[in-house]
């Protein structure tokens, strides 16, 4: 039996104005288990708190009920008070007789009666309270960033600069991501490589950053502060630490017909390659799908020409196990496939290209060395049509397009149009748009410049059909303002393809038990207030894997994610919320129902040995809650049919006692 002390606060006249506090403390003093009951002007004041502390000592109180303002206001205060007097802080319950009583009721009798009921309810709960101790877990002071694009790079740099170790896992042979493929960036038109490559070099040279390029995350277990991760370092058949990146092998390799993915297949590379000149790490990689030596055992040219003796045809995938305190997902995006958009003739004509392909065509390091020509015949195009929202805002057909707005297309299309007009004033540029969306610093000004200074034709309407005719492309679309259907003879058509999360994100999310939305974007813990955290503790989100983003947004989110990681890693120990779920193993039947509703992946199952009747042993599958991961929502407690799952601090019995007390 608890020894309960009741403390009724007047809150000046806030409570005492409509609640007879003396009557409340008298009535509650008569409740079973209550050994001390009093009231005071301001319980939260130093004097009030001292009164509580003294009563705890004098009356050997084991439980405290404070009838005062909302627990959202002063629960923490009174818990500290209790702790200072030597009793467990979770033995305190608050009866909210201000916000939910005195402030809403005008009648003294009514207010007093209700306050007594609320007090009795809190007493009923305290009777069943048990001391709770928050769990502690150590923090591994190392972060893992998955994805080496601008998002991952920025996050890694920020974390490392704060003094923590960071590993970047990048599935491609080099870091850099999509930004490395871009030509110029809006709205300032500075060259993407000029601002990205120095950061790549910073990463490479940073003493606290390790890059696992050509690598993938294979397995993740553990929880916030204590993740165990297995990284698969794919065999690149080149010794990374020996290769000097001289590039001789990539010139001598006889296999010349490998589509160059960096240029989106618009030109070819060798079977051994370095994706681009500024690659980090600048190390060659052998493409096992094309290498004659690896496929037939006959060739070995690269090995012969390599003076550093870096080639190793026997290399195997390597598995690295490492512990991390925090994991950042920065898996980025890809343009969606245009294969299903027959109406735009993408697969029929080489001269219908995506914006990313256009980006490579304009890039000085691209397949045409920056010269804008038609991919089909290398002729300079005089008429270019840009089509916006291809696959974006497309709700009709899920396998074709995406329901969301891809956000970046309006701006890069304006950029492409402007750059084209700037470099080739003889080329006529038309943009079909549904809406032009330019919320961003200097964004609308940028778009207007494209129209006003560069003479880009913007037509409100959508292209219905593109049909190749001879060496021209007939673009049929509507002009909604003129209420006309247009047929434009174009030399080149550029499609602003929607973007989607990288395909690797879904399996990764499963490994991380991080939730995703239906579009495979990672969900954030709170859309407004916790935008860079996953609901799963210790998992953070950076860049377009959380939703479409442009570079400035990505960089700022990357910094924010880094700040969150730094905040986590700077702690030596994590103190959990003790009000977490726990499973009574004697009753659990291992049905996995609770696991399915847990938004945090805090529940796992284990085969455990139990003592059966008559000296037998039984092995049963039972649920276990990881207290460091559980956030205490209690969803599992209701999902569990056997009642094995309960929530500390909000136990079923406690809530039922509250119900009983209210209905008395």
């Amino acid at each position: 039996m608890q020894r309960i002390g009741v403390f009724v606060c007047w809150c000046g006249s806030n409570i005492a104005g409509t609640v007879d506090v003396q009557a409340v403390s008298d009535a509650l003093g008569k409740e079973p288990g209550v050994v001390f009951s009093t009231n005071y002007q301001y319980m939260c004041s130093q004097a009030g708190q001292d009164m509580i502390k003294q009563a705890i000592k004098e009356h050997n109180l084991t439980g405290i009920v404070i009838c005062s303002c909302s627990p959202r206001m002063h629960e923490a205060t009174f818990r500290k008070t209790a702790a200072a007097a030597g009793i467990n802080p979770y033995m305190v319950e608050i009866a909210n007789i201000r916000e939910q009583c005195s402030w809403i009721h005008k009648d003294m009798k009514e207010g007093t009666e209700k306050a007594i009921v609320l007090g009795r309810t809190a007493i009923a709960k305290v009777h069943l309270n048990t001391p709770l101790v928050p769990g502690e877990s150590p923090v591994t002071k190392r972060a893992l960033v998955i994805g080496g694009g601008i998002a991952g790079i920025q996050t890694a740099l920020d974390i490392a600069d704060a003094g923590f170790y960071v590993d970047i896992v990048e599935k491609k042979p080099t870091i850099g991501g999509k930004m490395a493929q871009l030509d110029k960036t809006f709205p300032t038109l500075d060259c993407a490589a000029c601002i990205l490559t120095p950061k790549m070099v910073d990463v490479a040279q940073h003493e606290r950053i390790r890059i696992f390029s050509y690598s993938e995350v294979e397995h993740v277990s553990g929880f916030v502060g204590n993740f165990d991760v297995t990284i698969k370092k794919k065999a690149r058949y080149v010794k990374e630490d020996v290769c000097t990146g001289c590039g001789l092998c990539t010139e001598k390799c006889p296999q010349k017909k490998v589509p160059n993915e960096f240029n989106l297949g618009m030109d070819n590379r060798r079977a051994i390659y370095i994706p681009f000149a500024q690659a980090v790490p600048k190390v060659a990689t052998i493409d096992a799908d094309y290498c004659t030596m690896l496929k037939t055992g006959k060739c070995g040219v690269c090995s012969k020409v390599c003076t550093a003796k870096a080639i190793d045809y026997t290399q195997k995938d390597e598995f690295i196990e490492e512990k991390y305190g925090a994991i950042v997902a920065a898996t980025g995006f890809n343009p969606i496939s245009m294969d299903k958009f027959d109406e735009f003739a993408y697969s029929q004509s080489k001269d219908v290209i995506t914006s990313l392909e256009f980006e490579r065509l304009m890039n000085a390091a691209g397949p045409t060395a920056g010269k804008l020509v038609r991919p089909s015949d290398g002729v300079h195009p005089h008429k270019i049509v840009f089509v916006q929202c291809v696959g974006s805002r497309c709700a009709a057909c899920a396998e074709k397009g995406k329901e969301y707005c891809s956000k970046i297309c309006c701006m890069y299309t304006a950029k492409h149009a402007m750059l084209t007009r700037d470099k080739y004033p003889d080329t006529d540029v038309t943009v079909f748009y549904i809406d032009v969306r330019t919320p961003g610093k200097q964004f609308d000004e940028f778009y207007r410049r494209a129209v006003e200074e560069y003479g880009v034709h913007y037509i409100k309407g959508m292209v219905g059909k593109v049909s190749p005719e001879g060496n021209k492309l007939i673009v049929q679309g509507s002009d909604l303002i003129a209420n006309k259907q247009l047929k434009i003879e174009a030399d080149l058509v550029v499609l602003a393809a929607a973007i989607e999360p990288d395909k690797s994100a879904r399996p990764l999310a499963t490994m991380l038990t991080a939730s995703m939305d239906t579009n495979d974007f990672f969900t954030e813990a709170h859309p407004k207030l916790r935008p860079v955290e996953s609901p799963t503790a210790g998992i953070f989100l950076s860049g377009a894997c959380q939703g479409p983003k442009d570079i400035p947004e990505t960089v700022s989110q990357a910094g924010a994610a880094a700040a969150k990681v730094i905040g986590l890693l700077s702690k030596d120990k994590l103190t959990g919320n003790p009000c977490v779920a726990h499973s009574d193993e004697m009753m659990c039947n291992g049905c996995s129902t609770c696991e399915k509703v847990c938004p945090y992946g805090a529940i796992t199952y284990q085969d455990k040995e139990f003592r059966g009747p008559n000296r037998t042993t039984l092995i049963r599958r039972v649920a276990q809650v990881n207290e460091a991961v559980c956030q205490g929502c209690g969803c599992c407690t209701v999902a569990c049919p056997s009642g094995a799952m309960d929530l500390k601090g909000f136990a079923s019995k406690q809530i039922m006692a509250e119900v009983d007390a209210i209905c008395k």
Binding site: A395, K465, Q485
Partner: protein, 129 residues
């Protein structure tokens, strides 16, 4: 006019199309092969039904210019299905005139040997609901 609203609702009900889904991109009109024959165009059909300004459409010949090729349905990014609206509008007019219900039995006599299958089906869609 009260009646106008009823007609619109009836068209919406009959076609099963929700014109509010339209984001006014104009892809339907950009796609339509009969565009130039029309006074009002597919995106306008949808808009007119949405706003209830249906009278001019009912009177317009445009609705008979639609080939029921369904290109607009196929291409519409929002799944609005303008051709179904056109069809429902046509039906409203036809029903008003009392020319409803083409009987299947009457058909063979009217059929041309060379009439493509698709056109028969389309005609059914157009005239015999």
């Amino acid at each position: 006019m009260e009646n106008k609203k009823d007609v619109c609702n009836e068209i919406i009900r009959r076609s099963g199309v929700n014109p509010r889904k339209c984001m006014k991109c104009g892809k339907c009109s950009g796609t339509c092969p009969a565009y130039d024959e029309m006074e009002y165009h597919p995106h306008q059909f949808v808009y007119m039904v949405e706003t209830g300004d249906i009278e001019p459409l009912l009177k317009s010949k445009s609705i008979y210019r639609c080939l029921s090729c369904f290109a607009c349905i196929d291409r519409c990014p929002r799944g609005v299905e303008p051709a179904k609206i056109v069809e429902a509008v046509r039906l409203s007019v036809i029903r008003e005139q009392g020319n409803n219900h083409l009987k299947a039995d009457d058909l063979p006599a009217m059929l041309d040997e060379d009439l493509p299958q698709q056109a028969i089906v389309s005609a059914f869609r157009k005239y015999s609901k």
